[in-house]
Symmetry: C2
């Protein structure tokens, strides 16, 4: 996963994968089929990790606003400094392959839907608790937040300061809460 993560699909050559998996050429092909299948597996794992993280951060047992703050703080952390420069396998894949590779396209779209659903849910709970500012629609605010965090990943490639990104995220959430 790490190999594709830091170099992308086309940028990752077979020797990179052998080094990363510590497998021989033959064993790798026996285990995973071909490069594309292996990539899909790596992408699936990356997505599963991200969804699992959101399920924790935005769990319904938690205070919704705390969850959203944790969710945003996580993205701030992952998109600042060296972590930001490392980038995001999902966003890189979306830009590199989503338009041409249907298998990839479905996974990327599915991830955005999953994120939007969880954020919408948290915002809905916040709204019924009377914690949202007037006129804030959970579903549309969720779409905004999804775009925002994915944009963070893009801008994060320039390795911005953690404090600045956190302040930006805070400022955005502030526009939604009462």
């Amino acid at each position: 996963m790490g190999a594709f993560w830091s170099r992308g699909y086309h940028g990752t050559a077979l020797p990179d994968l052998l080094r990363a998996t510590k497998l021989s050429r033959g064993s790798l092909y026996a285990a995973f089929g071909d490069k594309h299948s292996l990539f899909l597996l790596a992408l699936d794992r990356y997505i599963a990790d991200a969804v699992a993280r959101m399920d924790i951060e935005l769990a319904s047992s938690r205070e919704p606003l705390d969850g959203l703050r944790a969710f945003l703080a996580g993205y701030v952390d992952r998109t600042s400094g060296a972590s930001g420069r490392r980038g995001c396998l999902l966003v890189a894949t979306a830009m590199e392959l989503a338009g041409q590779d249907a298998e990839v396209g479905r996974r990327v779209a599915g991830f955005f839907k999953a994120m939007e659903a969880r954020v919408t849910d948290a915002l809905s709970r916040a709204k019924t608790a009377g914690q949202l500012a007037d006129g804030v629609e959970p579903s549309s605010a969720a779409k905004i937040l999804v775009c925002f965090v994915e944009g963070l990943r893009v801008v994060g490639k320039t390795a911005p300061a953690r404090t600045a990104s956190q302040a930006t995220a805070d400022a955005l959430l502030d526009r939604f809460v009462r």
Copy 2:
């Protein structure tokens, strides 16, 4: 430019460039040096076009809120449906190369700075005209908008409906205006 745009740097092979430029192999190398130099030239042109567009949309002679609406509408248009699926050379390049290629990294960072400066300026003018909601800081709202539109480019890879994206952009701007 179009070749790199739709296939990325690594994904664009020399025959693609020959077809796109209608040049022979020798002439292309005589004119541009190598693939990397040609790519940098394409990227520079893409960035110059984008900055020129922002200079028009967000011109100081224009009503700032109208400018911001035009700016957002442009991004909505370019990130919906088939245009969205086509993607963005700058964002794709940021994810693919910005971390490893210093020449590219500088250009990407420079573009985000240029966008942020122009959006900040428009928001500042809106603020002095009393058009912004209470507590909205132009500089931090500009950072939010930059992340948002770049996030639109990412999510746009799943070809969302124009109306939905426009509604989302409207909802975000609504949180900033009085």
